[in-house]
């Protein structure tokens, strides 16, 4: 009982030390609980695309748990460091280390209970609020978010593990120090850090590799695989950068006497240099967190905001019908069915493409390899179709082609399929009345050639190379405006038909074959496919729910990252304030006026403020290239919009960051000027 009393008294008396720790504990608990509550909510299953969404939430929960663990350890070590003197005093006054450990464990248990109670209560209140927000994003109204004991139980279990870890940490760190060490303040003198050129180079090289990976990404799938490797390199590089490169730079500044021996630079440079070693990790953490915030928010906001633009590019009209045969046969067939059922297709746009060839494009050579890094889908278009779409006449020789890279890049002057080679006469950046984006994750290349005679041998070779038993040919896409009622009816009617190239179109009695565009198994293809049917409204609903869910998680993660940044900065300011207090007193006595002190602090603070933001922006600049590719995996390729949302996100985060810095700087000033 005595220890319980002592522990609770400790918490109450040094509340200023415990408060940041408790706050971060509660907030982390709350964030985890939010996601868990949605994840375990029974209404989740009712959402369209619930599987995807649940997977995203699960991923979000995992990321948050890892983050919470790291963060709680960080906060707790800070708390421990500030209390070493107190523990040392207990030790001197006769408490055994065993007892001190018991006190600290009791303290932790109290904090844990407080966290669970406060977190759950706040969670119930906040869940309702967040739920409304989520519904607004996803655009669903039947979603009912309930307080779920299961979610609370799971998050409590996660936090119990985290707190157990903290108890172990406290046990180890108390036992490791001698009582005298405990009593002595942590303000031992430190030697000026040595500039380690090897580490600096290693850091730069590591950053360069990470950046290089980002820059050289060629396709969305490539971005996905390289993203995590690049992230690891950049994190490692950032840490080394702060640990060595900045020290090297500061040392160089110090060597330049005319620069160094000026009042402003003198105190700033020496202070930064002195502090760089201990704070490299802190600065690297802040930088990485800020970058993570940028990336998370920019990706999700970019994804969400570009849905409309993407669908606008994809849907030339509100309905797309794809029939697996030539243009002539398709139109005849569709018109006939439409007429028979009394359906109206308005503003029709029709074009015919060869069946799609999927493989790797290497230096203009098409290879039948399913290589993720440079997967490219190729469709051929005849010059006639091009003319029909755009009204422009073109003249192509037999071995010439016009390339239109709708997704991805294409710079070659020749393009080769097995032993058929085309000279690229021209590269164009758009085709009128033709979509400028696709639903595929891969790159998409359209090659316009003179006539079908040039295409067919290639299609035959492709079919042979893939070992297909069926012949490759042409499919036709008809874009038209239909009323919602007509569209529904038409889709149902069409699902009874089976089309395969030049085979006769069959009508069957049951329509159970699933109507999915990419569901083209061999057997089914031979049996004939129903025409695929895509509606703008359906797609819009689906994508909004997906991207909305993504955005929701992005916002929660982003918020948590910002909060983490805030707390790290706060800790940094407090501990630095305590270190600097004496220095500024001395400086004033030696002859630095209050105004000059304030100026010095400001320039020092600004430097520390701008460094992580600047580095994070550079990181993000490279990440942007990857994000752009990654997002196009979900079907978005609008560069300008993404750039705009990214800049907006950075601006918003920077402003929040600045506000945090200003607030925490106050704490610093208060300590220093006291």
């Amino acid at each position: 009982m005595f220890y319980v009393k002592l522990a609770s008294r400790n918490i109450r008396q040094s509340i200023s030390n415990f408060l940041p720790f408790g706050l971060s504990s509660v907030v982390m608990f709350l964030m985890n609980l939010m996601i868990a509550t949605i994840l375990f909510s029974p209404s989740l299953k009712k959402l369209p695309g619930a599987g995807n969404f649940a997977m995203l939430l699960g991923l979000g929960l995992t990321v948050l748990t890892v983050f919470a663990t790291i963060f709680m350890i960080y906060s707790y070590r800070f708390l421990l460091k500030r209390r070493t003197k107190e523990f040392g005093l207990y030790n001197i006054l006769g408490l055994k280390k065993r007892h001190i450990v018991r006190i600290s464990i009791l303290e932790l248990m109290m904090m844990f209970l407080a966290t669970v109670v406060a977190g759950t209560v706040l969670g119930i209140i906040l869940a309702k609020f967040l739920y409304l927000f989520l519904i607004h994003l996803i655009g669903e109204s039947y979603f009912d978010l309930q307080w779920s004991p299961l979610a609370v139980g799971i998050v409590t279990a996660i936090f119990a593990c985290i707190y157990l870890l903290l108890m172990i940490i406290s046990n180890i760190s108390i036992h490791r120090q001698s009582s005298l060490e405990l009593l002595k303040n942590a303000s031992k003198g430190e030697k000026e850090p040595k500039s380690r050129i090897i580490l600096a180079l290693l850091g730069l090289v590591s950053l360069a590799i990470g950046y290089y990976l980002a820059v050289t990404v060629v396709s969305p799938l490539d971005a996905l695989t390289k993203f995590f490797i690049a992230v690891l390199f950049v994190i490692f590089g950032t840490l080394l950068f702060y640990m060595s490169f900045t020290i090297w730079l500061l040392k160089r500044q110090k060597k330049n006497k005319n620069y160094y021996y000026q009042p402003k630079h003198f105190i700033t440079v020496s202070g930064m240099l002195y502090r760089m070693k201990q704070n490299a990790v802190g600065l690297a953490n802040i930088t990485i967190l800020v970058t993570m915030t940028f990336v998370t928010l920019a990706t999700t906001v970019g994804l969400f905001s570009s849905i409309n633009g993407f669908l606008g590019d994809y849907f030339l009209r509100n309905t797309l019908i794809n029939v697996n045969t030539t243009q002539q046969r398709s139109i005849e067939f569709i018109d006939q069915v439409a007429e028979k059922n009394g359906l109206a297709l308005n503003n029709k746009i029709v074009y015919e493409l060869s069946n799609r060839l999927t493989g790797a494009m290497n230096d203009g050579r098409f290879e039948n390899k399913q290589n993720l890094a440079n997967l490219t889908a190729v469709n051929f278009m005849t010059a006639d179709t091009y003319t029909q779409l755009t009204g422009n006449k073109i003249h192509l020789r037999e071995n010439e082609t016009i390339a239109y890279p709708a997704v991805g890049r294409f710079h070659e002057s020749n393009v080769r399929f097995w032993n058929h080679t085309f000279k690229v006469k021209e590269k164009i950046s758009e085709i009128r009345n033709f979509p400028s984006t696709s639903m595929m994750a891969s790159n998409w290349l359209i090659l316009i050639v003179n006539s079908k005679e040039q295409i067919q041998p290639i299609l035959d070779d492709a079919s042979k190379a893939a070992g297909n038993r069926y012949k490759m040919g042409y499919d036709t896409t008809i874009s038209a405006d239909l009323t919602a009622k007509d569209a529904k009816k038409f889709q149902k009617v069409l699902s009874y038909y089976r089309v395969n190239g030049n085979d006769p179109i069959k009508r069957i009695n049951d329509s159970e074959t699933k109507i999915e565009q990419d569901d083209r198994g061999e057997a089914k293809t031979i049996a004939g496919m129903p025409p695929t049917f895509e509606r703008y409204d359906d797609m819009h609903e689906q994508m909004t729910s997906f991207a909305g869910g993504f955005l929701f998680i992005g916002l929660i993660l982003g918020f948590t990252f910002i909060l983490g940044t805030a707390l790290i900065i706060y800790y940094k300011q407090i501990s630095e304030g305590e270190q600097d207090k004496r220095s500024f007193e001395i400086l004033q006595e030696v002859g630095l006026s209050k105004d000059e002190v304030r100026q010095t602090i400001r320039s020092q603070v600004l430097l520390v403020f701008f460094l992580p933001i600047a580095v994070a922006v550079v990181h993000f600049g490279f990440a942007f290239i990857m994000i752009q590719k990654l997002i196009s995996l979900f079907g978005t390729t609008r560069f300008n919009l993404l750039l705009l949302t990214s800049i907006g996100t950075i601006a918003v985060v920077a402003v929040i960051y600045y506000l945090i810095y200003k607030q925490t700087s106050r704490a610093y000033y208060r300590i220093v000027e006291r």
Binding site: I586, E589, G591, E596
Partner: protein, 252 residues
């Protein structure tokens, strides 16, 4: 006359109580150029308040402090730091060296704040180094030094601005006996080169190295002793006796 202190009075009053504490009461004395003065008193006698007033860290309630014809008590707040930097040198009880700076940079500090040229800083340091025996210390960090070494560095920092007056606040308080002796001898040597020093102390040993000792009690100066050409140890005996008398008889 270098320094003229006249009718100095300092009254502390907390904001919420009417109780007044008189820290200094009608203190007047003067210091000639090249003098070495010790101000002696018990703790609470007002000697630190007096030093802070001379150091412009504190403003007196009444009276004036005139250094080389300039009244320190009417200097504007934003000019004070500059004034301290250019006219005064400080030696503190706990050295007050900055951990973030090397020894050399600690010594340069006031000159850097005064935007002095690097060449001049180096020239001045060169002249001080042999006098203070700090050649080996220059490239170290303060935490690597012993107390005596730190205080020598602090003296170097006080002297490098070539101040009109060096103010020392219990400079030997944090040092052991041997280091104290060395330091006091050093201060005497510095004084011999013409540097005016004003030291505040409660130690009779420290005070015995000065040329003149002022005794302060309850905020008043009421006695002074001249060392003349006596040995420090002889002078110390007289100081000790005076202190004993002071403490023994109520002045009031």
């Amino acid at each position: 006359m270098l320094l003229q202190v006249s009718h100095l009075q300092k009254i502390f009053q907390t904001r919420f109580s009417k109780e007044k504490t008189v820290a200094l009461q009608d203190v007047s004395f003067s210091v000639e150029e090249g003098e070495y003065i010790a101000i002696m008193g018990e703790s609470g006698s007002g000697k630190t308040t007096l030093l802070n007033t001379l150091a412009t860290l504190d403003k007196p309630t009444l009276g004036s402090v005139i250094l080389n014809g300039q009244d320190l008590t009417i200097i504007k707040e934003n000019k004070l730091a500059e004034f301290r930097r250019t006219h005064l040198g400080f030696i503190f009880q706990d050295f007050n060296l900055l951990d973030t700076l090397s020894v050399r940079d600690n010594i340069f500090l006031p000159l850097v704040l005064g935007r002095q040229k690097v060449r001049i800083m180096e020239q001045r340091l060169e002249k001080l180094v042999p006098k203070l025996n700090i050649a080996d210390l220059l490239n170290k960090q303060p935490f690597e030094l012993s107390g005596g070494q730190k205080q020598r560095v602090a003296i170097a920092r006080a002297l490098i601005t070539q101040p009109e007056l060096v103010l020392a606040d219990e400079p030997t308080a944090a040092l052991d006996f041997k280091n104290s002796e060395g330091l006091l001898a050093l201060l005497e040597e510095i004084n011999d080169t013409g540097q005016t020093i004003l030291m505040v102390t409660h130690s009779a040993i420290a005070a015995s190295h000065a040329k003149r000792v002022l005794f302060i009690k309850d905020g008043r100066i009421f006695h002074q002793l001249y060392r003349a050409n006596r040995e420090a140890s002889k002078f110390m005996q007289e100081i000790s006796m005076t202190m004993t008398n002071l403490l023994g008889t109520e002045v009031r």
